[in-house]
Structures are given as structure tokens and as C-alpha cells.
């Protein structure tokens, strides 16, 4: 036992040392966590993740540890209870070594809005890691840990996974409890994680999923054994190629890598089927998301007021305290999003904006369900391009490339269907990813096909070498 304790402690400390070395380059850690007590507890459990160092996105509560959600508003907030996912990690014997950076309150896709500064891509420090779960993604990609928790409201696990060349997975909505996770938009928020191989993603799902009465959206639908099923071949699998997305991608390298992989899948017995959605409908994904997410976020974060918890600014009255605290506490992007959310929630706009968006959401979900009538999974490149530079000007926000190719993965949040990104190849030494979406509750098929595609890419375990 003592020897095992020493081995696990050494492993945890080695990981923390590595994280400290990476920090000046990646800026991906918000807080480091003491491991001594955790190791003692893990030795008592001897669970399936015994002694494995893991990382939490900093919007996940771990009792006694700071949880900032990368917002100055929560700079001094210490969690007073464990998120369910933390309890499950503890049961499994994992050792939580750090908490990682995110876009402020999870609202963003670049991880440049954290109050602790931008997270850098481990393949090229002048580029973004993607967001909002960019800290977790960068640290798994660098090889510091094998498993890190993220959350995904739009594509906040699956897009950074593509930019960092790793596996990013979100299961069915409600499959992993959201209890103890600082929310962004409750009807879209998923808990998921990053790994460097699909098999570990499947194993982790078996440990982290399950009905939780403390999360009112947690599902009871049993999970099949997704690990045992991985070896099933691609024969008779029907892979739907999402034509709207491919048509919106003008990068020939991305298209070539994608179609080369699809050709290999066909050689393994998969049937490729072109599928598409009404062109006008798919272009509504982003504005629909923007309205729903910002309206929900505005309501969710009204409790950040400087009175009961979080940072505090003095004032002569309660109103002044709240106004001073919220003015200083939120970054400009968050304030902008709250204004938009508040605009959508105004009585006179609810019908035209929020309710309209919720009805379009139903149309998008129905159209996605229809695409699944003929296929097992829907696939497309997770992004049209490699990770952008930190100071890259944004692309035309009304172009098909932006509205469709860069934002279609939100369909996974509207539908709640499970979705995974895996690396599909490299362009100029930078990774590109492929995304898969399966029907709701069918993680088994999703992970099976992802596992088989991973074999074809030869990129299992891909790791970035960060120049220290």
C-alpha cells in the first residue's frame, strides 16, 4: 500500500510539474490542486481510474477549491460542494491535479476571453486552442494528462478538440449530470471530456454517466456497454456525409483529408450516403443558438451580484453594490451577450425572438431526425480550417462558411444527440478534425464508428510537442 501511495504521489507530482512547465507557454491552468489527501482516498477506493491524474474545466465545482469559470466575478469563489462528475471521479480513484481555463463563463469559442488571459494552442503558440473548453483541450493535447473534463453548449468541446488534434466527446444531453457545473445555457449545456484515444472516451463514459436526481434534466435511459462494442467493424455501417457543410468549405486540404478518410471507410465496408438539410434552415443554426443561449445565460447569471458570493464592490445601496460589482466583474463580451439576451427576453420581443428561435429549434431537430432515417452517423469536418491565429480577424459573419461550416455542430446541442470529434489529419503541422453525430442515446454506434475511423487515420494518441 505504501509503495503504491508513493508511486501515485510521484505520478501526480510529475504531472503537476509538467503543468507548471507548460503554464508560461499555454496559460491553460487556472488553479492547481493539492493531491496528498486525494491519493489517500483513492487508495481506499482502488477504482478503475486508480491514481490517474485528471483535470476539470474551471466551471466544475470541487469542494474547497476555487471555481472561477474564468470570470473575475468569481475570482475568489470557493466551491462548497462537489459536482456529481467530481464525486464519480473520486469513486473511480482519479486524482484531480488542476482546473483549466475557459472562455469567461463558457461563453465563447476562442478561449481568449478568460480573465486570466488567452489559452495558446500547443501546436503553435500564436494560435488559439479553441473554446470554450480550451484549457482542458490544450493540456490533453500536450500530453500532460490523458483525460480532462469540458462542457459543450454550442461546440465547446468538439471545436477545441479539432484545433488541438484530440478526441472531444459530449454524450447525449442528460447522460452525464450537470449538477455542480456553473451553467451557461441550461437547455444546451452538456458535460463531456477530452482524451487522446476513443477507447478511453468510451471507458470514461461508463464511469461518468448515470441518472442523478440532483440534476432535473438527467436521463434514466440505460447506457449499453460501449467499450465491448468498439471492435465491431464498419461493414454495414451507413455513414451520412453532411453535404451542406462540405459545400460550405472552400479549403481544399480540409476537403481532401475528409474524403480520403471516407474512401478508406468505404474500403472497410461502410456505405457512404450524401445527406442534406434545407439550405435556408441550416443557415438558421447560429442565430437560433445565439438567441436561445444568450437569453438563458442572462437569466442564469442574474445571481452573480456581489452579495452572497463572488467578488464584491462597495456601494451606498444594494443596487449600487450590484451595479458596481457586475460592471467590474464581467468582461465586455459577456456584457454584450447579456444585453442581447435581455433584448430577447423583453415582453415585446419574446414572441419575435426567443419563441421564434425555439420554434426554429424544433424545425432543426426534426430535420436532423429525418436525416437519420437513412444513416447511422452524420459526419463532416469539425472546422473548415486549422486553429486561427490569436489576432485573426473574424470571417464574414453572414457567409455560408461561417453560418454553416463553422457552426453546424450546434445541432448536437439542439437535438441533445451524442457527438464526437477525432483528429483526421494534419495541414502544415496543424491538426484538423472530423465530427460525428449519432442518434440520441446511441453512444454505442457513435463510439464504434469513431473507434474504427481512428484506426484508419493512424492518429490514435496524437500528442503535440510544446517547445519549453
Amino acid at each position: 500500500m505504501t509503495n503504491k501511495k508513493e508511486v501515485w504521489l510521484q505520478k501526480a507530482h510529475k504531472t503537476i510539474d509538467e503543468l507548471h512547465k507548460l503554464q508560461p507557454k499555454l496559460n491553460a491552468v487556472v488553479s492547481f490542486v493539492d493531491v496528498e489527501k486525494q491519493v489517500d482516498e483513492a487508495l481506499d477506493k482502488m477504482g478503475p481510474l486508480a491514481g490517474m491524474p485528471v483535470i476539470l474545466k474551471d466551471n466544475v465545482l470541487y469542494k474547497g477549491i476555487r471555481a472561477t469559470a474564468s470570470s473575475y466575478m468569481l475570482d475568489n469563489y470557493v466551491a462548497t460542494y462537489d459536482a456529481t462528475v467530481v464525486s464519480k471521479f473520486k469513486e473511480a480513484g482519479a486524482i484531480i491535479v488542476a482546473k483549466s481555463s475557459l472562455d469567461e463563463l463558457g461563453m465563447g469559442g476562442s478561449n481568449i476571453t478568460s480573465f486570466t488571459g488567452p489559452v495558446h494552442n500547443p501546436y503553435d503558440l500564436s494560435r488559439i486552442a479553441g473554446g470554450s473548453s480550451g484549457g482542458s483541450a490544450a493540456l490533453v493535447a500536450s500530453g500532460a494528462v490523458d483525460l480532462a473534463i469540458g462542457t459543450d453548449t454550442g461546440d465547446s468541446i468538439r471545436k477545441p478538440a479539432a484545433f488541438c488534434g484530440i478526441v472531444g466527446f459530449k454524450p447525449t444531453y442528460g447522460r452525464i449530470s450537470r449538477y455542480g457545473v456553473i451553467p451557461y445555457a441550461s437547455s444546451l449545456d452538456h458535460v463531456g471530456y477530452f482524451t487522446r484515444e476513443v477507447k478511453l472516451a468510451a471507458e470514461a463514459l461508463m464511469l461518468l454517466s448515470g441518472r442523478d436526481d440532483k440534476d432535473m434534466t438527467s436521463i434514466s435511459t440505460p447506457l449499453e456497454n460501449v467499450v465491448e462494442a468498439l471492435d465491431e467493424s464498419l461493414a454495414n455501417k451507413r455513414i451520412g456525409i453532411f453535404k451542406n457543410v462540405l459545400d460550405a468549405i472552400d479549403d481544399e486540404d480540409t476537403r481532401t483529408l475528409f474524403f480520403d478518410l471516407m474512401d478508406k471507410a468505404k474500403e472497410q465496408g461502410a456505405t457512404l450516403v450524401d445527406i442534406s438539410m434545407n439550405t435556408n434552415l441550416i443557415k438558421t443554426v447560429l442565430p437560433t443558438y445565439y438567441i436561445i443561449a444568450n437569453c438563458e445565460a442572462t437569466a442564469n447569471h442574474s445571481n452573480l451580484d456581489g452579495v452572497r458570493f463572488g467578488t464584491h464592490e462597495d456601494g451606498e445601496s444594494l443596487e449600487e453594490i450590484m451595479t458596481n460589482t457586475r460592471t467590474k466583474g464581467f468582461g465586455p463580451l459577456i456584457r454584450k451577450r447579456f444585453v442581447i439576451g435581455s433584448y430577447g427576453l423583453m415582453d415585446e420581443n419574446q414572441e419575435l425572438l426567443l419563441k421564434k428561435a425555439q420554434r426554429v429549434r424544433r424545425k432543426l431537430v426534426e430535420a436532423t431526425e429525418k436525416m437519420f432515417e437513412s444513416v447511422d452517423v452524420i459526419v463532416a469536418p469539425a472546422s473548415s480550417h486549422v486553429a486561427p491565429k490569436l489576432n485573426d480577424p473574424s470571417i464574414d459573419q453572414l457567409s455560408d462558411k461561417y453560418l454553416v461550416a463553422e457552426n453546424y455542430m450546434v445541432l448536437g446541442n439542439f437535438t441533445g444527440y451524442p457527438s464526437i470529434t477525432i483528429p483526421m489529419g494534419m495541414k502544415n503541422h496543424l491538426p484538423l478534425g472530423i465530427n460525428l453525430l449519432s442518434k440520441g442515446y446511441d453512444e454505442k454506434t457513435l463510439l464504434q464508428i469513431a473507434y474504427q475511423l481512428e484506426k484508419l487515420t493512424g492518429l490514435k494518441g496524437l500528442k503535440a510537442k510544446v517547445e519549453l
Binding site: 442528460g174 434534466t217 438558421t284 442565430p287 464584491h312 444585453v339 442581447i340 419563441k355 431537430v365 453560418l403
Partner: protein, 101 residues
């Protein structure tokens, strides 16, 4: 949808209990133009035949349970993060002022 004004942006910010600089308010107004163009895309979709979808699944996930106490938080933990607390109360400036104040 109509364009939003700088005045309206400030008004919304006040309701949200924060202030915006003039530049921030102007930036929001200009970004609203892009948003409004994107929102026009929603109007092209006929939704007259459908209800709003709020959550991904419409299968019930909440159930009646026995009326027993569980998941209790210690009072000490409740006030752990309070900027100002006293005798199990959050302390704020006096709301009802004395006559001579």
C-alpha cells in the same frame, strides 16, 4: 426587427445592473446590425405549424420523491463565500433609512 439605439442599450444595461461605456454601447449597436441580418434568416422559416422546443427531449426527467430531507448544506458553507455576513445573514447597506438620514 428594428435597429436598437444607444439609449436602449444603456437602458438594458441598467436593468441588468451594470454600466457600459459610450464606446461599448456603440459597439453593441453596430454588432446588432449583423445580428439583425442573421435574425432575418429565421423569418424565412415557416413555423406556423409547430410549438416551441425548449429542451432537447420531451420525455419527463423529474419525478415525485419521498418528502425526506437530503442534500443539506452546512450553514458555515452557505456563508463561506459571502463578502459580508453576520449572524447567519448577508449584510448589505441599510435599505430603510432613518428619518434623520
Amino acid at each position: 426587427m428594428e435597429r436598437i439605439s444607444v439609449k436602449k442599450v444603456h437602458q438594458l444595461a441598467r436593468q441588468l445592473m451594470f454600466s457600459l461605456s459610450e464606446q461599448e454601447a456603440k459597439d453593441i449597436v453596430s454588432e446588432f446590425d449583423t445580428l439583425l441580418s442573421q435574425l432575418d434568416l429565421l423569418d424565412r422559416i415557416d413555423t406556423s405549424d409547430c410549438e416551441e422546443l425548449v429542451y432537447p427531449f420531451e420525455t419527463p426527467t423529474t419525478f415525485f420523491r419521498e418528502d425526506v430531507v437530503d442534500h443539506v448544506m452546512d450553514v458555515k458553507d452557505v456563508f463561506l463565500n459571502a463578502p459580508k455576513a453576520e449572524n447567519q445573514y448577508f449584510v448589505i447597506p441599510k435599505v430603510v433609512k432613518d428619518n434623520d438620514e
